[in-house]
Symmetry: D3
Subunit: 243 residues, 6 copies
């Protein structure tokens, strides 16, 4: 079976990570994965939510949005609906949880880093691209805190990236584009550290349940993709070192 864009089953789409994309935020990235484009920003706020007050620890939280015409047909704005959809809630909770798992909140001190991921163009994998891009924005925000001597040690413990894998027409594929995702029998999102350990694993059988062997094969695909994404992050972070 040929993939919609001619890729191999275990091949990522082309990835670009453009740092310092915006002038205002403490960290800002435009991540492009195939046709999926997400603006990820990191904002430092010098206070924490009530449950962290007085703990000496900071917080990392995320919000996710999508422009109305990021999609093939126009999506109604959430503000017009009056509330976020369940999908948005699920995604932003995932992004926040994933990033917190590689941050030492003690080292961050009593401040919050807000991550905003806004999808400019969607073609599948927006939540995984958001996590991968947001990590770089978060890193830049931490570098600035270090440079300004607001913190002593980098609170980021380890790099992290995310990718989707799935089963489409009986075949296991890495990094599903929208067209593949829409007909996938199994859809799995994996968030993994540079050290190859799991941060988040969310697998869903859309139609037929999947067996243990398929799970194993999908996790191998995901691991390969994550390695390449972390490589792309490292290159971006190295380049902008002089910026």
């Amino acid at each position: 079976m040929e993939r919609v864009d001619g890729r191999q089953a275990d091949q990522l789409r082309p990835v670009q990570i453009q740092r310092q994309y915006l002038i205002h935020p403490e960290g800002s990235v435009l991540i492009t994965v195939g046709n999926t484009k997400v603006i990820c920003t990191a904002t430092v706020e010098e206070k924490v939510p009530p449950f962290q007050k007085g703990s000496g620890k900071g917080w990392v939280t995320a919000e996710y949005g999508m422009l109305p015409r990021a999609t093939g047909t126009r999506t109604q704005r959430e503000v017009t609906r009056g509330k976020a959809t369940g999908r948005t809630m699920e995604i932003q909770r995932l992004i926040g949880r994933a990033l917190r798992s590689v941050v030492d909140l003690q080292r961050l001190g009593e401040r919050t880093i807000w991550i905003d991921c806004d999808v400019i163009q969607a073609d599948g994998g927006t939540r995984t691209a958001s996590i991968t891009g947001a990590f770089v924005a978060l890193k830049d925000a931490c570098r600035r805190l270090l440079k300004n001597k607001q913190i002593q040690k980098d609170p980021i413990i380890e790099a992290l990236a995310a990718v989707s894998v799935g089963k489409v027409a009986g075949e296991l594929l890495l990094d599903l584009a929208y067209e593949e995702d829409a007909k996938a029998e199994v859809d799995m999102n994996v968030v993994m550290t540079a050290g190859g350990r799991f941060v988040e694993l969310q697998g869903t059988a859309e139609g037929t349940p999947f067996g243990r062997d398929e799970l194993d094969a999908m996790l191998r695909l995901a691991e390969k993709g994550i390695c390449e994404l972390i490589e792309a992050q490292n290159q971006a972070l190295a380049e902008s070192a002089q910026a």
Copy 2:
């Protein structure tokens, strides 16, 4: 390490499934797992959401709620907040998706089964207890449709149950109670069919990422738990056969 209630690491809490708990719904169950108690109902509605109209296929959807004092301290009603929390959204989407994966929507015909899971008392594992209990309520609603000759064949393809597993103080445990869940390093919810295949797999590292070996061990624990839960469902469904 002794567990909070003296259980073995691989032991479920006591499970009871009481069918026909309420007089009005087409299917209704009170499921008790340790101190967690959930009322699960199934309601048949003779119409489908817009996206299924004219398809000849039905739909299964779920809503989840919690009484204010299901919890140790009072939780504000969601209607007072004006909208469901992200947690509620996430859980009800999970319940609906899981149940749909074992239903043949064609056999169901153009009707919707609404699943309502309302937590009366919470002590960890409310989402997995909801799925396990809701399956039985759904089964009863389908039996009634069959008995009334509204449908010809049972739309339920296979039984399904759900359980949590996790890593607490370095140890892998089956079926976490609230106190364990609150300090878990890894928390994983597994939805599995009677045939041992995955319907949903959601693993989250709360603090430190987890390795492949830990994943494998947790999946073995989950499989054991699911077998016992499906056994409990079968007994309940057999008992009420004469009711």
Copy 3:
């Protein structure tokens, strides 16, 4: 005219009051009146609303809800509508007002007791069952405050219960079931103390206005019902004395 369940015109439905129904709340009751079942809980919170701050007085407030399939056809969740219905508002204001009328807020001190009444199964008279059950939950919460020496004197001045009366097909009836209520010409809810004095009186002519003589006869019926309900409360409170 025979009543739907064979009762006499002046006969209550069977009443059960199960105390300590849940493990978490300071007071919790499952009250059953015929097929109507309501979980009533009392929660003690160590603060008061802004208008009571610094007054040395406490507050009692109530919220009311209904599970979607408490009713014959499924009722949409209020959180999905985005706000409570007028009916819910009216009922919860009534419950709070009624209970406050028998509480000495000075003795309670600057704390709030939250009453939550959640209807598990509805067959008419849910607001009156809520008040009757909530009184017992409130009593248990006060007993606990006394036992813990958080207060010196029981803030509850007098017992209180509630019942509906009405005129159906020209006949005056005590304690209307749903089927009776739906076709009632007059519907009246009475909240009365153990001493036979009125706390709340709400009579509504659904179709034709009612005369003074009918009012008098309905009040006599209500008084009889209230006496029996207060007797049931006393028995429940005596039983659990040793619990």
Copy 4:
């Protein structure tokens, strides 16, 4: 005890009912009761709510509002809060129910009459003034339907008015002004027909419960007030006969 404005215990405040107060509505009244002023309008809409469709019957419904500075201190607009208060809900349900009880919905035909009561200035008794004034606006709207031959017979069966009574500092009073209402021990609203029968009776013990004898005495006061209010309605309706 002297009343705040020097009235006798059984004396109404001065009442004025100005018809055709606005140019657009089918019926419109400015009712003044002491310092309380309410604009009541009746709007005819040629459709009915879903539950009346095809029944051949009409509907009467009411909404109630208050200008922010109708009150001594500014009240926040309900649209700013995002939803109506429980008080508003309760009042508008009462107004609609009361008016429907004297309307033959069959004669009205499949159309809705919307009653809007907007309080311009509040000094106690706004809900009872609203009902008394709205009756006149409703009457005018029905007269217009008759005049235009949209209906054959007047759907209004009988006149109706409303008044408050209460117990203040141990004394029973008719038609409480705000200052009296604020310290009332018992507060009762009575809606009664010209024929002296009850449409609605809502009595609340704010502090201490009230006995049967007090109820009887308050009902006598209310009856006297209602008679005088119906007399005022009749005069207003007679005057404008030539308008």
Copy 5:
């Protein structure tokens, strides 16, 4: 072309400004411009919004509403919609901005004046009538502050009024009534001081864009109208001097 009410192209509708219309507010006006009637109130609150705290300066803010039957067909209440319409938002922001431009916030001190403009009857020009009437209510509130020695100097720097001009069927007209406004090709609202300077200028081409010469002619019409409105304000303020 004859105007709908026989006026000249450059003629205002009859204007009345009734002060002290309500008993509670610090300033209250009923302004009538033809058939348009607006109640304008000014409320003094002894605090400022967060952004003014500690600045020594006050604030002036406005809210705008419309009774459901102010209009020819009934308009749904905004609270029922759940939020203010864009039109309401636009108008109330305009009123607040306009009034602030003639107030010395330093002289006002750290207090807020709330302006409420509620349209009782609408026939075009409700926003300009609101501004013209609100100025008088604001003036009265300031006079009271001066009289009570809460402030030392009148914070109002200069008088201000507002009027609409437009192009209807090719002709330029002053003070459009609703029927004219509905078919206007250009609609312009002008807020101007007694000294003939602009505070706000909002011109909109509904169909065809307008040229510079038309703009000039409309501004001349507006200036004439504003002069007459300020004259009416002055008369009202003089009359009530003795009140």
Copy 6:
């Protein structure tokens, strides 16, 4: 006085208009005006709002949004607030009205063009940049309708652009950057056609009212800016002719 970025008083910031910025929409533009960046898209929908149904005419409507970190400090998402701010409402109404004024809705036929303007980076003038960019996206959407023969004649009658002018520290300036806008005494937005006629004129005195001579001078500045913006639009539209 030197401007913040060294510009002349009558000089625009550098303008870039990048067409076909996104793959999904029928028209999409990234417009850059100095540091202000807005994504403008045009979406064709084959239906019209209720008030246009059966008229044979189409509709053009606009929505406006801003990413949270488009601004110097993070702005809360409107969906989190639960509703759009008054500012957003005002701006999107302005954009829609302005574009409709140059569209022949009859030629468009019964379809809606949705304009979405999302600010990626804000530095003053976001509403005028939105209009200028949206015109180009709208033009592209119309070209596509023409190319697909869905319409016969271009519904766009004339080009249109928008710019701000203002008075800062006593000097009249063209195209205010954020820093200038924040301290402007007068702020005016002008929407004008290629033919030099006004579509919309909104001038606001932030502090002190402005005179007729200042108005005239500001309008001359605006006219100069609009000419240059329309030139930029024409170049962009010519370039992409071959795309």
